[in-house]
């Protein structure tokens, strides 16, 4: 049932413009977002006042040199760490005032992560790496969604393999499947092509583009690769903890 609805949405959306954005509230809204880490006795400002808004269905690439605060921004938007000050609303929820447990619960239901190093659980098969996300979410195994996602990512024949038996590209596709199998509102990707060769990078980027276009998946991707950023609808450039170009 869900499978058909997924493909119906995909067909409908294929005829629409890629960005179905406009009048609604942004899914991400950050105002004067600051984050300071204390390393030893020294305070290090990772974010120095970030303002940004991302609409639902948008594919945004955040680019910038190493240490500019891209990953910190992603971690805050994903609820992995709280901001030091400022306001950050994700799907209407203000992370600034949420406790760790509340952010964890929110993350469980609304956010999917894709990491540079794939971050698959090494002892589990590709299938289990994907289904564990559904298990943690608590809604149980959804075979329709699982079928649709694994079919779309072209990993059905690899589901019985453990991560060490998969190529980098395959591992990253499994990681993407895990990230989207619970239908998150927001997909956060941290250098998803950083460990891949150009061919696999292209495959992964195409998958992400498809997810965005066909399933209206909101994606915020961090990258330092200009080619990777070019697949996004919008590019945000950061430097020294601030957005310098949008």
């Amino acid at each position: 049932m869900l499978l058909s609805s997924i493909f119906l949405t995909a067909t409908e959306n294929a005829a629409e413009p890629a960005r179905h954005i406009g009048s609604m509230e942004p899914i991400i809204s950050a105002e004067n977002l600051k984050k300071t880490y204390r390393i030893g006795k020294v305070d290090v400002a990772a974010l120095r006042g970030v303002d940004m808004a991302v609409q639902e269905g948008e594919f945004v690439a955040v680019v910038g040199p190493s240490g500019c605060g891209k990953s910190t921004l992603l971690h805050i938007l994903g609820g992995l760490t709280p901001p030091t000050s400022g306001k950050v609303l994700v799907d209407g929820n203000d992370f600034s005032y949420m406790k760790d447990a509340e952010r964890t619960k929110f993350r469980r239901h609304k956010i999917g992560f894709v990491f540079q190093r794939y971050n698959l659980l090494p002892t589990l098969t590709a299938r289990d790496n994907i289904t564990i996300a559904q298990h943690i979410q608590g809604d149980g195994f959804n075979p329709h969604r699982f079928e649709a996602v694994t079919e779309m990512l072209g990993i059905k024949s690899k589901l019985g393999h453990k991560p060490y038996a998969l190529s980098g590209g395959e591992q990253q596709r499994v990681a993407i499947a895990r990230a989207v199998v619970c239908e998150p509102k927001l997909l956060l990707a941290d250098e998803p092509t950083g460990n891949l060769d150009s061919e696999n990078s292209q495959v992964v980027l195409t998958m992400m583009r498809t997810l965005n276009r066909d399933f209206r998946q909101t994606i915020l991707m961090i990258t330092h690769d200009a080619d990777a950023a070019s697949v996004a609808d919008r590019i945000v450039r950061m430097r020294d903890g601030r957005i310098i170009w949008d």
Partner: protein, 366 residues
Amino acid sequence: MVYRMIFENIMHRPIRTLVSILAVAIEVGMVMLVVGMTHGMLHESAKRVEGVGADIMVQPSGASLFLGMTQAPMPVKIADRLAEIPHVLAVAPVLCLLNTQGRVDLIYGVDMPSFDRVSGGFVYLHGGPFTGPYSIMVDDLYAKAKDVKVGKTLNFLNHNFQVTGIVMHGKGARLFIPLATAQDLTGSHDKASIFYVRCTDPGYTKIVSESIRSLLPKNQILSIKEYMSLMTSNEVPALNTFVTAMVAVAVGIGFLVIFLSMYTTITERTREIGILKSLGAGKGYIIQVILWEASLLSILGIIAGYAGTWTVRKFIIATFPTLPVELTIHWALWAGLLAMGGSLLGAFYPAIRAARLDPVDSLAYE
């Protein structure tokens, strides 16, 4: 899903898994064997006394229940006065000796005719009764353990005894010498440390006990039933303390190994914990995973412990026939519960620590 993940984790680190299982198995084995041997020795000793066939035993006040030893043996002629009490069928005076040469052995100095009347007589597997003052009879378990044959010379209490008979076990002691010889060797002429009294019918035990009590008010008079009920570890000085200490050491070993194992696991799997957190796994989920893993290791260890204990018991019985090991369901359950409790306690801090890990730091962990 959690169970599959736990199973895969356990299989992924076979050495750690084996060491953890072995530690829990040793813990279970230690508890069961220490308790099994102490209780086994007590019960076996009690059953041997019961096997004498008497209904009442009379000892000087303050005599040891466990070995029947006393500093002040009673005159043998008391036996004649006891025999005159109505409903008494036979009275057997016994002098208990403790041989400490090489190992500790309880030796009964017995007067054969009276002892036979009370016990119904020895069952001779080889040889026969005493043939002289330095004759000795041993029971079959002792003979098997020490490879003793009829005619062999054994040295006890700095004297050589010739084995004249090998008897069926279960009649008070494992070694028997003539009462007169025992009295000579200890300088306790015409003395005995226990009188075994047999009634014409066990139903007269209470009446006869009361009669003996009025005749010998300062002595320790126990029916065999009372004696059996008193033969617990509480009656042996420091035995309970020893058992408790050994159980505590065993549980401590299990606790420490599981603690170390799970603590190491948390460190090894920091990144994996970060991944679970990034997927939205809360503290409860992480704690659950760690505690279930410890529980599974513990269950496998308990099963291995039971199997190991059973095997060791078989080995002990085959190698040391005189060393009884009494394994009971009651203590098997206790050993399992203690092992499980120790494991969960050992895993609790690592589980809490894992749950508190910062997801960003965990994901960056190399």
